[in-house]
Structures are given as C-alpha cells and as structure tokens.
Amino acid sequence: MSSTVAGPERGLSRRAVEATVAAFLILLALLALWDSYGRGAGWDNGPENGFFPARVAWLFLGASVLVLVNSVRQPDQLLVTWKQLGLVARVLGPLVAFVAMIDHLGIYVSSAVFIVLFMVVVGASRWWSILLTAAIVPVVCFLIFETQFGVPLPKGPVEALLGY
C-alpha cells in the first residue's frame, strides 16, 4: 500500500493495456467473422443473416488493428498506479464474492455478507453501523420486492427455512 517515495509513481503502462485490449478485440472480431461466414454472409435475394455482422466485424477488425499499431507507436504513459488499482480491487473483490454467493445463498443473505465485507475492506465505519446496514438493507429489499411488488428474487437455504 505504500507508494514509492522517490521517482514517479509506478503502475500499469498504458501501452500494455491498450495493446492487450486491442488484441482481445481482434480475437472477438475473428470470432464474429468465423460465425458469420459459417452461417452465410452473402447476398441471396437480400442480405443473408451473416451479411451485416460480417461487414461490421471486418470494420471492427480493421479499427482494432489500427489501435494496436498506434498503441505500440505512441510514447508510453502511466495508465493507472498500483495504488489506484489496489483501491479498485478492494471494491471489485467483495463484489465478485457477492455475485458468486448469490447462486448458493440467495440474494438477501449474500447482500448482508457483501455489505459487511465491503464496509470492513473499505474501512472507515464503526462496527455498529456496519451491522445495522447489513441487517436493514436486505430486509428492506425483501419487503419491497418480495412482499409488496411480488418480484421473485433468488433465494437460498435461509429463506427456505423461513418458509419462502
């Protein structure tokens, strides 16, 4: 977490990220081309169903290659410092855990866990405010969606135990 004292801040290079993203986009374009030509991208009394996706994918491929070439030619810059990336990870980590939990625990329990996780990781909250938020938010969500508006959300073993 400590930033370097001397010299410029260190982090991810823009060139590296730009090139990686462009390479990934090129891959997507090739995938789309493969699929479109597989289904037929010609003109048969009007365009076939791969006609437009194929044309769009060629354009997409061209632009992506251009971006890739440019990224290598341009002088490198700092895109994001390790410190910033660390902060982002502290939000993203709990979020990924939250989404992974939904399938098993249902959205309400996961939300409570997520709030605790998030607030602890981010810090700057007293323990009672953490517990209070973690308790109130899922209950309010439940009351609004499940009981008032009848919108079914994913539920897990705990809700089943309570008879929902």
Binding site: L31, N49, F52, S64, V99, I102, F118, T133
Partner: protein, 508 residues
C-alpha cells in the same frame, strides 16, 4: 374547436376528487418504481393492474398512467445521481447529468431533468389533443425502408461528432452492433453468434449492459480517487429549483428543438430511445457551447429529457389510435384496456370519447402533479449524495445486481453486469467512447431488421431507400447530418469569422 370542448369535458372527469387522489398515489408509486431498477415502469404497472379491475376504466387508466409518469420522472434520478440509467431513454441523460452531480450540482441537474420531462410530455400531449387523427395516418406511412431511414438519421445525428479517437468510435459502434446481433435473428429465424451457449440465446439485454458499463464501472472509477463519492456538496434546499428555472429561458432553442424532434420520433415509430439520443446529438451539434457538452452542461440534460418524454408521450397515440404498443409499459396498459372491456384501435376515439378525453386530460394533470411532487423531493435525493460512500456504494451495487437479475430472472445476467462493469472501467481508462456502443446495442438489430425487411420486399433492390418523398428526405437528411461536422468547419474556414449563425431546422 371541438377538441377544446372535449378536453374540457375530459378535465371535468379527471378533476373529480377521487381521480385526483388516484393521480397523486399513482405518481408517488411510480417514482418508487422508477427509482428501483428492478421494478421499472412495465413491472410496476403490471403489478398494480389487478387492483384496477373493479374500478371504472377512466379512473383505472388515470391511476396506471400516473404510475407511468411517475416512473418516467423517477428514472432520471438514478441516471443523474449514480450514472445508472434505469431505462434506455435515460442513457443520454447521464452524459451531462452525472458530471453535474459530480461537480456538486445534482440539485440543478435533477430540477432540469424534471422540468424538461414535463415540457416534453406536455408538448406531446398538446400534439395528441389537437392533431391526433392526422398523426395516426402519418404513422401508417412508415414501412421498413422508412424505419431504417429513421434509425440511420438517429445514428447520423449522433455519430461523427466529438474529439474522440476515430478508430475507437468505430470500435465502440461495431462492438455494439455485434452485441446486438447475438441471439435470435427475426428475419431468418436462426440463432446468431451464440456458439451453442444457452445463456447467449437471449442476447445481451440493454439494461444489463448499461448497468454494468455505466453504474458499476463508475463506482470503480470513483474509488480510484480514494474511497468516496465526488460531489458530496450538493445543494439541498428548494431555492436551487428557482435558480435553475431562472436560467431555463436561455435554452429555449434547445427545448423547442428537442420537443419537436421528440414529438416527431414518437409519432413516427422511432420511439423515445432514438429521440433522446437524437435530441442530445443535435444539441451537441448546434448548441453555442457545444464544446462543453458531456462535461456537465445543463443543456445536455435538457435536450435528451425533453426529447425522450415528448416522444414517450406522443407514442401513446399510436397505442390508442392503432392499438400498437410503443413501449413495454404501453403494452401492459393495452392489456389493461382490453380487460376493462375497451378495444384499442381506430374506433376507440369514436366509441369511447369520455374515456379517451379523460385520459388525455389526465396526461396534463398527471404530469403537472408529477412535476410538483418530484421537485419537492429534489432536496431529499440530493441529500443521498451526503451519505458516506462505504454505506451507499454497496447499496447501489446490490440494487444494480437486483436490476440485472430481474431483466430475465437469471443470475447469469448478474455476472454479465460484472463483466461489463470491468469492460466499462477499462474502456473509460483507454478513452473508448461508450455512447456509440450503447446506441448501437439499443437500435442496432432494429435497424438491421428494417433494412433486411425492406430488401426482401424489393428483392435486393437498393432503390427502395429512395422510392418516395418521405424516405428520400430522411436519407438525404441523414447524409447531411453525417457530413455536417466536416462541412461546417469547411464553411467556417471559408467565411473566416464573418459571423452569421444559423439555427438549422430539425426534420419536419
């Protein structure tokens, strides 16, 4: 003025005390429904539909349409405060609304959005009141070629502007088109680009993509600067409303232009989504301070909101007059009409005069009630920005997840939202523009369906896009708009500061 008389009759019906009560209740419920992305307009109306079965049809439609107005107003709230557009037509509102909130001007942005919605909606209602039959006829002139021309016009009014890297604009547009193409192709009845993955079959729902691209990625961006929200110093008193209103007359050109574009797009079945993008695109092109648009200009909030609501309201006309629902909410209302024993369609205006005019009167009153109520809540919503980040951020993310899930009851969509959140973060860091991507996702497959339907009908003859006055005009306008940027800079350099600003007319 037969219309005025009928309208007065309508007001008498709508102004009975219990109808006014229904209106207020409806608007309040609608705001709640609009703020929570998991519910949304169509869901909210559908859920409350059963309540109205015992009521007389006029009261019932007043209640339900007020929910609709409330939801429309409510949709702007999350767009401005958290960069999360609850509905497709709120996307363009985020472009300037959210930057305003970040600068601590959330109250102004909300006031502008609400007022613009009101102006747009009322323009739409005026249109319905006085020229309904003419317009219904006009809507019938739109075949597939004309549909395509309208979509092309939307793209052209929006693209080709801005200082973004050209290659990246192209990438964003193409990616949007390709994402829109995933799933079932209406014209051939085949699945495209699903690679036999069941979840991809339903394609990428716009709402899931947008919640990720805009909402989730925005939270990731804002934590880079430290774990807090920007813009926490939003003014939270009602004076901000008056101050904002005082500045509005300056933007009359934008308001009029957007209202006209909106009404036109609502009637020609281009719809509110296309209208909001076109309204914003035209403002960006023709506004005097267009360079600042996108960085938190009030004009950038006024333009799309006015256009979207003018279109959304005018679009109720085809629903009533032709029986085609212009939106999901309109479709649910349509179901309601039939359950109450009313058959929408051309005969409704003839056979159910009381009902139709009561509804039209309630559009005026419901929007007015809505405006008063939402304005009163501006301080409340601006105050949300003051709640500590560590509490609000997880709540926003949870609400995002719920919203993504409810689109098609699938947890896969929550993962998708997460992926698009990361994509949005990376794209914003690398200066890929997100707006063209979203526009292409929303309108891409509809534009493709239209062009292919037109070509099937003409057996591949491209002349169909210039076969009559209407479609030719639209196509030429599109090309003019596409070339407007290069052309106007050329003209400017020719005239070399001789001055003379023209305000170009939007489409007739």
């Amino acid at each position: 003025m037969e219309e005025l008389q009928s309208l007065m009759g309508g007001f008498q019906v709508a102004l009975s005390w219990h109808n006014v009560a229904f209106m207020v209740i409806g608007v309040l419920l609608g705001i709640v429904v609009g703020v929570l992305p998991g519910l949304g307009g169509p869901n909210g109306v559908a859920i409350l539909l059963p309540l109205t079965f015992g009521m007389d049809p006029t009261s019932a439609i007043i209640l339900l349409s007020s929910i609709y107005w409330g939801a429309l107003f409510g949709g702007a709230i999350t767009a401005v405060l958290f960069n999360i557009p609850g509905e497709a037509w709120s996307v363009a509102t985020t472009f300037d609304g959210y930057p305003m909130a970040v600068k601590g001007r959330a109250g102004e942005a909300l006031t502008a959005a609400f007022t613009a919605s009101f102006i747009g909606a009322v323009s739409g209602v005026v249109l319905i009141t006085f020229v309904a039959p003419l317009i219904a006829e006009f809507a019938l002139r739109f075949g597939p070629a004309e549909f395509f021309a309208v979509f092309l016009l939307t793209f052209c009014s929006f693209i080709g502007m801005g200082k973004d890297n050209k290659a990246k604009i192209v990438i964003a547009l193409c990616l949007g088109f390709l994402l829109a193409a995933v799933g079932l192709d209406t014209i051939s009845g085949d699945l495209r680009m699903t690679f036999d993955v069941t979840e991809l079959m339903r394609g990428f729902d716009f709402l899931v993509v947008v919640i990720g691209l805009f909402g989730v990625s925005e939270i990731m961006l804002s934590v880079e600067e430290g774990l807090q929200f920007k813009g926490s110093k939003a003014a939270i008193d009602l004076r901000v409303v008056l101050r904002t209103w005082a500045s509005l007359p300056r933007y009359w050109a934008t308001l009029v232009r957007s209202a006209v574009v909106g009404m036109w797009m609502g009637v020609t079945p281009g719809g509110a989504i296309a209208a909001s993008f076109m309204g914003y695109g035209l403002a960006k092109r023709f506004s005097r301070n267009s360079a600042n648009l996108g960085q938190g200009e009030i004009e950038g909030v006024l333009a799309p909101e006015t256009a979207a609501h003018a279109a959304g309201t005018s679009a109720l006309l085809p629903m009533l007059a032709l029986g085609i629902p212009g939106s999901a909410t309109a479709a649910v209302l349509l179901g309601g009409l039939m359950i109450w024993g009313l058959q929408p369609g051309p005969m409704l205006f003839v056979e159910q005069k009381d009902f139709v005019w009561g509804l039209i009167a309630s559009m005026y009153l419901g929007n007015f009630a809505g405006l008063v109520i939402v304005l009163a809540t501006v301080p409340l919503f601006a105050a949300i920005m003051r709640i500590p980040f560590s509490i609000v951020a997880p709540i926003i993310l949870i609400v995002c997840a719920i919203g993504a899930y409810t689109v098609s009851n699938s947890t896969f969509d929550i993962w998708l939202m997460l992926v698009f959140g990361v994509v949005g973060y990376v794209f914003k860091k690398l200066d890929y523009p997100l707006a063209p991507l979203v526009l292409a996702i929303v309108l891409g497959d509809r534009a493709e369906d239209a062009i292919r339907s037109a070509l099937i009908g003409s057996v591949g003859d491209l002349g169909v896009f210039f076969s009559n006055g209407l479609v030719s005009t639209l196509m030429v306008l599109s090309l003019v708009l596409l070339l407007w940027g290069p052309l106007s800079s050329l003209l400017a350099s020719l005239r070399d500061g001789l001055g003379g600003s023209r305000t170009p007319r939007s489409a007739p």
